[in-house]
Symmetry: C2
Subunit: 658 residues, 2 copies
Amino acid sequence: SVNPDLAMERQTASFNVEKLTALLDGGVEQTRIRRAVVAAIESDPVFSRENQYFQTQNERYEAAVRKAVHLQKKMHEMGWTENGPEYKYIYRALSGDVAFLLHRVFMRSISVLGSDKQVAKWIPPATQHQLIGSYSQTELGHGTYLQGLETTAVFDVATQEFILNTPKISAMKWWPGDLGRSATHTVVFAQLYIHGKCYGIHPFIVQVRSLQDHSLCPGIIAGDIGPKMNFEHIDNGYLMLKNVRIPRDNMLSKFCEVRPDGTYVRQGSQKINYFTMTTLRISLLSDEVMTPLMKACTIAIRYSAVRRQSKLKPGEQEAKILDYQTQQEKLLPQLAAAYAFHFINNYLQELFDKGYREIQRKNFDMLPELHALSSGFKAVITHHSTAAVEICLRACGGHGYSLLSGLPSLYTKILASCIYEGENTILLLQTARFLIKCFMAASAGQPVPPSVTYLAAVKPGKCPAKNKLDFLSPDIYTEAYQHVAVRLISSTATKLQDLIQSGVKKYDAWNQCTVQLVQAAKAHCHYIAVKNFAETVERLETKAGIQRIMKLLCDLFALHGIFSNTGAFLHDGYISAAQMDMVTASYLDLLAVIRKDAVPLVDAFDFTDKSLNSALGSYDGQVYQRLYEWAQKSPTNKMSPAYERYLKPLLHNTLSKL
Amino acid sequence: SVNPDLAMERQTASFNVEKLTALLDGGVEQTRIRRAVVAAIESDPVFSRENQYFQTQNERYEAAVRKAVHLQKKMHEMGWTENGPEYKYIYRALSGDVAFLLHRVFMRSISVLGSDKQVAKWIPPATQHQLIGSYSQTELGHGTYLQGLETTAVFDVATQEFILNTPKISAMKWWPGDLGRSATHTVVFAQLYIHGKCYGIHPFIVQVRSLQDHSLCPGIIAGDIGPKMNFEHIDNGYLMLKNVRIPRDNMLSKFCEVRPDGTYVRQGSQKINYFTMTTLRISLLSDEVMTPLMKACTIAIRYSAVRRQSKLKPGEQEAKILDYQTQQEKLLPQLAAAYAFHFINNYLQELFDKGYREIQRKNFDMLPELHALSSGFKAVITHHSTAAVEICLRACGGHGYSLLSGLPSLYTKILASCIYEGENTILLLQTARFLIKCFMAASAGQPVPPSVTYLAAVKPGKCPAKNKLDFLSPDIYTEAYQHVAVRLISSTATKLQDLIQSGVKKYDAWNQCTVQLVQAAKAHCHYIAVKNFAETVERLETKAGIQRIMKLLCDLFALHGIFSNTGAFLHDGYISAAQMDMVTASYLDLLAVIRKDAVPLVDAFDFTDKSLNSALGSYDGQVYQRLYEWAQKSPTNKMSPAYERYLKPLLHNTLSKL
């Protein structure tokens, strides 16, 4: 039975929830396929996550391996293939709680970086899991700066082998997933040396464990890096190499080859390889960032519709916390962001598909723009979403702090996305470098890529809004975002130039501008996200109330960004103080309007109770019953030896007399 | 051997670290006592936290009980008493990793709320641990709003007993520490009913477990609430009462008594009780908030001085990440905040001591101000410190994400401080209510408490700064903070009045202003923190470089607040755009200056390696060695059954054929 407080929220939905779900999925057929996958996965007890919050790191690892092995069987049973329409829903349905994710990266890197011969040799046994692969790039002392990696691979002409070594502790491979306990093979990135000359970083296939008994191979020191904030199910590992010899054929050689005599040969363009890496940043957003954000919104908003606390009006019953303006101000902007990010992700996916087609035609013109967009949006979306999940957690008070709410694990997992696949600050600075370059080009009248043409059309001007309703016009707020982005990019470019002209070295000048460059890159991405949301709303069909509610969310996303960052808009008077008060008024008004549809808006994300795995977020809103029943199953409700050992002697005063 | 990169940082300290430590401790004698306590605790293997990151919730609980019992012995051995000078350092030395914390709250509530007879009966056996107490207030459905608690205590005149009940699931006690597994007794807050009439919430002593065999008493259903984001060592519990009868004498009756015939009598003033609760919010700041913040700063800054990544200058070796402006901008404001909060905490402690003396003289005039300050600063300091620890964690990249860095557990623990002892938003609204009241009074020419007299002296004006150096003048920035606080309080008061005059009900009007009221309360606290920091610096002795470096940190704290919240200062033109550019310039300059003393500034916090319990933060900076050695001890480096069960059959292709 559904909690009546929650049922009531659904009765008054202003739009058709099922239609919105189909819109998010990309069509009713996609919704159908997704639900079929979810149903198949969730009805299989092997994939259950019910005990997850009670399990140790060892138990989580074991379960993840079991699930990964079982998944092979399941896919066969269900007729799902890696190229089928179901495939992309499997990982979401498993909530990522499965091993061998790096095995896929291992296979992809061989496919992309290996010669035809290498692909033919390694891919079939890898596909059949006759070996398990990992991907060893990061070292204890080296992450972001790949050129700094210290692992060495020295070519021995006599034996036609590479000799791999970890010259010092900072060179130890650290973090590779699946490497700690599972992997038999890995792709190792190492500095290639031939006849004493260093040729830079190259990829080598190295066997680390015996295929017979899984013991470590000679010269290999490897293990698990221990406890982390999340990802307990993954055996992130370490690896030290001591004179490990591998055949010459094990260097992945699509782009670079070492001939038997030690001649080093480069061939072809690596650009498609860089493009693949860039694409990875975008492809992770959906599963690793947007899904957790949407889950957190679902949990926090459903809970806020059933949790009653304090009184809004004297004499009435305690109010739903969702009726407090402060609670709305915490949660609804996060909900709007979830939709905004979903639509910008669609935009980026399309752009990257287009980019891929161009690159196949050997046209690499789009690469710098795609790199800048993927870096910037990876950073901006992971940062905002992490902050948003934390807000959702805190907005649920004490119960949000219980692992059983599901929110702590969503938070600790999404947090990692700010760090992996490029640390966010570094990425934003890469976007900023592109923006500064384009701004200079645009200022000099040269052509620039489509996403930055706005830099050429700098208009000083003022915001034309006359009253608070004007701020619900997408033209008004999109223009304001554009203005701020241009101002921040141009003023930082000026500062940079001034410093250099005053005699500061170029690299010092750059460092002295980085705080502001990061701000500029964020402003650029924020502008594009707002513009894309507004354009998406334009294109929606007006039926079933979908366009209306999406327009409101777009307004909220845009005005929240202004309200939380007023200084950027006030600085040069583009928005006046009086206009800023109108923004605030419109923004607060919007909260009260969207609040009415808050529950239907999270229902549209269409998460099952099992996928949320949350005592606070279930569809029926029976929060307290669920917390109580679940807590009773906790291992902490078994007898503890602490009683006999310490408590009893203390209480009975039989401890050795003080 | 100290990492040379770290040693170098210490050689160039501009001030005497030992003198700063003594200043923080409140004198050299305090430093000596603290170090003696730390040495005694850390040399005792029972108190070791070395395995903490590897332990399950059950193991953590068991260790915490063991430590709590051992601590009794230790205190006796060392001659430490609850009233001695060592006492306050014990908890810090244990990093809070000990059980029976609620036992002290149990005892305090009896001392404060109990009659003399009750104190005489319960305190001696509690002191000797012949019973273990807890404190049961919060319910599944009720936290903030105490009047909403649903547990009932019905007086039965016939038997002279109270009959306690949990009428429905939302009334179940939930969260009380030590209750899940340890406590034998607890203070239960329940609605008192006499002859069918409800007299509101009262405290009752209830036995929950047998003193003989620790089994649950009749009518008691209790257990552990299961896994949480942190506090694994504490058995937060649940409690359901089914017709539990307790004698009339078990109602704590210093302020309210039920006579044998059922007559209800109020006596004395409860104000000193409210004062005690208010004091608690301040007293938790030091151990639970400032210490974790200082630890996080120590870890992240030491790590940033030894971690090298990418190149700042072409041709040189990779740079320390602390030399990047973006890294400085992440960490140094957090360091400045740690000092700012330390000094405001001293200020609040003194104010509360004064308040206590006044209250003992039956002068309750200071109560509203103390309540407003303690609410506001509890919220502001916990919020900022939580955000700061998260920034420190993320600033350490992947290694910060490892539990072995110590940062994840500092974060997950400090996060709870935003929720317990009053949820932050609620507390800020209480401060705001006080501010609005005082603003109205001040506007009407009535006297107001000292901390808000500035509300009476509203000057419109503009910031007089002429160049970036002017913004290093405490008068200039303190004035700016004051101006913003007055503006936000007065404009929200006006909005509130306008709404009410336009016919909106008072409670609706209040709700519609709460987002802005929260901003106003924060601005008030921020102003006081800046002012107090500046005044503290004024009073410092000029010797040994202490005043100089504290002045720089004060400037940084103030300018960081303006830089991160420019809109508030730009809104009415108090600070112009040109002046804001000066703020930015001065702020960025300060980062480069303070960076030089960053390591000595965290060294002054004087944490031992054992108390940091961090592979990244140790005094010698041997990060990689420590991570590697520690990870090898992880239970995830033991053989897993996953190999024989799942991996071997998969690799050997002996899984039942797909």
